[in-house]
Structures are given as structure tokens and as C-alpha cells.
Amino acid sequence: MERSRAQREWRTRVSGVIYPIGVVLGVLVVWEAVTRIFGVPAFLLPPPSAIGASFVANSHLLLSNGWITTVEILLGFALSIVVGIPLALAIFLWPVFSRSILPLLVSSQAMPKVAVAPLLLVWFGFGLLPKVLIAFLIAFFPIVINTAVGLASIEPEKIYLARSMGFGATATFFKIRLPNALPAIFGGLKISITLAVVGAVVGEFVGGDAGLGYLLMVANGSMDTALLFAGIVALTVLGVVLYLLVELAERLAIPRHIISGDKGARETF
């Protein structure tokens, strides 16, 4: 019985990988067939094979530009953490600070940050900095909110317990409140890393001379739709890899807690 259960679990896990791959392959085959049968012009919709060929032919270009975009994303993300977490701490620790800053912060999020991009270009030129800043501006907010909420939301009994045990404020924070908030903080980091990708690409759209966003603009200008698609694929892969890296960090920081959550989710679906 144990064995059949293990087998069933293994089968579920394998089908969780096989089925989506099957769907993607199916879509690619239909796509290829449709473009060939109906003779769709390549500048409108190139067949997957042409996109693959373009990907291989331009792999050097994609890699070098991808690296630049990666640096922008990571710097923007790092800046989001460095600014976002202390800001969240301040919001949590000082109610006056929270009351004065939080409303401004929230309303600032209503402003489309893409619209600020040209301004940053005027101020900081065409180099790395404006892209990093745009990535930061888009990405830091979820970290602030999730960290502040994570720190504030704790069962009151845990705090009572800490006080009756004799933990001081610092020990309570590091031994109980911070670990308690880690799942929420990582939730914010995961949203943030995907937003940082958006921010970097927007920055390159507006005023770039390098990077995957810039490459997309160039491909667009020269009607090289196959390269455009190859660039989109590269950006997607980059986004997924960065997301998975954050998830890996999460698993290292809070292994048990998250694994149990995953299991629960898998059982409900």
C-alpha cells in the first residue's frame, strides 16, 4: 500500500512536468503547421523553427545583451531590498513615521512609473543608472508592504509568550517576529524580482543603447520579427531563472515551513 501511494505520488509529480511540456509542444506544432500551410508572412508571425534558428544565429547578441539586462535587474532588485527592508522596519517600529510616510508611499504607487522613465533619463543620462533606478522604483514597493505586514501580523500569544519567557525586545524580534515574517518577506521578494525585469526592460525601451529591451526595439525597427520573438524568449527565460533563484533562497532560509505549505497546496488541487 505504501508502495502504490509512493507510485501515485511519483506519477502525479511526473505528470506535473510532462503535461505542460506536452501542451507547449502541441502549440508549437500547430503554430508551425499554420504558418506553413497558410503562408503567413515571416514579419507578421514567423514559424517556431525560424525563431529557433534566429535564436541560435543571434545567440552571442542575446547573451551579451542579456547580461547587461541581468546586471540592471539585479542591481535594481538589490537596491529594492537595501531600501525596502529598512523602510519597512521603520514603518513597523515608528508609528509616526508610518503615519507620515505610508500614505505618500501608497499614493506614489498610483503614479505610472513608466512615465517617470524619461525624466530619469534627463537626469542620469543613457547609462546603467537610470535603468537600475526604474527597476528599483517598480520593484521596491511589494518588499516594503509585505515586510511591514509580515512583521506586524503575528499571533498576540507569541508576543505574550516571549515576554513571559523573559526575552527582551531585540531577542523577541530576531527569534520570533522576524522568522515569523520570513514567508511574507519572501512573498514580496518574489513579486519584486519579476517587477525588476519589467523595470529594466522599460528603461532600455525609453533610452537604451544595450540590453534585451534595446535589442527588441532594434529588431522591431528592422522588422526582424524572428529576432523579436527570440528576444522575448530570452527575457522570459531570464525572468523565470531569476524567480527560481529567489525561490531557492526562500527554501534555504525556511525549508520546512514552505515545503509543508507546498504539500498542502498540492493536496488541495
Partner: protein, 271 residues
């Protein structure tokens, strides 16, 4: 049935260990101030098992929080060995209704949290933690995380955490309220065993009549909100008490007395 008045003990040579004098608690709420406790006085001898029994909302949990120094009463005083309590007491063990375990720590790690707070020597404390866990039937579960344990097991871990530093007093706030009847019975027996071995002072908050009669030396019955002391009942059943004792006329008489009190106060209604 001894009815003990707290004022009798005042000034006597054997001063009570725990003494609560004239505690009142008034909360502000949307509908104006709410009186949760009204002039509650009680005391406990060293090593005594004292239960506070009352309907939901009579302020008995508030009473425990005040006795633990975690809340300030609106008026009245708390003292331990004649010393007035003004800050959270760290010499006690607390068990809440929920286990309040840290999800990211193992059973052993959760028990050791108390040792870390008290800065106990690590190896000795860990040995003690393992012994404690084994004594409540959790040998082999030391490295399990809370989500891998049943509700009863989690509450046992919580109990071990409250005991590892050999507290003078154990404070329990409806500790078995969320458990099924069978697990409850087992934990009540476990608790009696632990108390028998150590004889620490226990303040036990409950709304279960059989639980209170089974475990207590004395039961303080409270009125519905605002909580007042209704009657203090001394339980003179021999120890250690057994499950079979719950079927005896003596046990039934105590239960009857309390139920009659609840009926008289409108806590229970026989239609």
C-alpha cells in the same frame, strides 16, 4: 465543602504564595466601557492546584494574564510571596489554549526556546528537554516540526516548554479546550502526574466542570460577565485521582454543586 474566604488568610503566618486583591478590569469598547472583572480576589498556597471555572466571557483568561503580569488591571494588586507584581513574570510557565509553537522550530527547538530565554546551560537543558518530551509520550518526535504533530502532541510540546526551567508556578489558560475528549482525558492524567511529581503551584483556567473537579485542590467558580468570585469549592478527593473516580457519588456531588450554581446564575438553563 470548605468555603474559603480570601480575607481569612490575610496576615496569617503562612502567607499565600499567589495573592490577587480586588482585581477589576475595564476595557474600552465601541459601546462604551466593558467591565470584564469586578473586584476579584483570590489566593493560592504554594504547591496548590487552583482552578478558575466559569462561562465564556467571564474574564477568566484576563485574570490569568493579570496574574502573569502580562496585563495591568484597572485596579487591584497582584503579589507573589508578598512582592507586588508590576512586570511580566518570567519565573512561571504559561500554556495557552493554542500551543503557540514556532512553526520553524522542531518540537525540541520549541522547548529549548524557554532555555534560550533563561540562558540555561545548553547540553543540560537539552537533556532535560528530551526527558520532558519523553515523559509526555513524545520520545522519537523531538525532531518533528509542529505541522507534523497532532493537536494533542503540540499541546504536550507547549507543556514541556512551560516546564523546562522548573517554574514555581504553572499558568494554564484552557489548555485542553481545543482537543478531542480522549486526548483531553490523557492530557489531564498527564498533567496530574506532572503536578504530583513536582508540586508546583498551578493556576488552571477552564470551563470544563469534570476537568476542574478532577485536577483541583480548590475551584474558584466565577459568575458571568462581569466576572466575580461566585464560590470557592475545596475538592477533598484522594490523590492520585483515577478516571473511575469520576463515576463516584463524591465526584458527582462536586459537579452537581457547580452545575447548580451555573443554573442559579443563568449560565445553564434546563427548559
Amino acid at each position: 465543602m470548605a468555603q474559603l474566604d480570601p480575607s481569612h488568610s490575610k496576615g496569617e503566618a503562612d502567607q499565600p504564595y499567589l495573592s490577587l486583591q480586588g482585581l477589576s478590569m475595564i476595557y474600552g469598547s465601541r459601546d462604551g466601557p466593558v467591565r470584564a472583572l469586578d473586584q476579584v480576589s483570590l489566593w493560592a498556597r504554594r504547591g496548590e492546584f487552583l482552578s478558575v471555572l466559569g462561562p465564556s466571557g467571564c474574564g477568566k483568561s484576563t485574570l490569568l494574564m493579570i496574574a502573569a503580569g502580562l496585563m495591568r488591571p484597572s485596579s487591584g494588586t497582584v503579589s507573589i510571596d508578598g512582592q507586588s507584581v508590576t512586570r511580566p513574570r518570567t519565573d512561571i510557565g504559561i500554556v495557552f489554549q493554542s500551543p503557540v509553537l514556532l512553526e520553524w522550530r522542531t518540537a525540541l527547538g520549541n522547548v529549548m526556546l524557554q532555555a534560550e530565554a533563561k540562558k540555561l546551560e545548553r547540553t543540560a537543558a537539552e537533556r532535560r528537554a528530551r526527558d520532558l518530551l519523553a515523559s509526555v509520550g513524545l520520545a522519537g518526535f523531538e525532531d518533528k516540526y509542529p505541522h507534523e504533530l497532532s493537536g494533542g502532541m503540540r499541546q504536550r510540546v507547549s507543556l514541556c516548554r512551560a516546564l523546562i526551567h522548573n517554574p514555581h508556578q504553572l499558568m494554564m489558560d484552557e489548555p485542553f479546550g481545543a482537543l478531542d475528549a480522549l486526548t483531553r482525558d490523557q492530557l489531564v492524567l498527564d498533567l496530574q502526574q506532572i503536578w504530583n511529581e513536582r508540586r508546583m503551584t498551578v493556576l488552571f483556567i477552564t470551563h470544563s466542570v469534570p476537568e476542574a473537579v478532577f485536577l483541583s485542590d480548590r475551584i474558584m467558580v466565577m459568575t458571568p460577565r462581569p466576572g466575580r468570585v461566585d464560590r470557592v469549592i475545596g475538592i477533598e478527593l484522594p490523590r492520585p485521582r483515577t478516571l473511575a473516580m469520576r463515576e463516584t457519588p463524591e465526584f458527582a456531588a462536586y459537579s452537581r454543586e457547580i452545575l447548580d450554581l451555573f443554573l442559579a446564575r443563568g449560565v445553564l438553563r434546563e427548559h
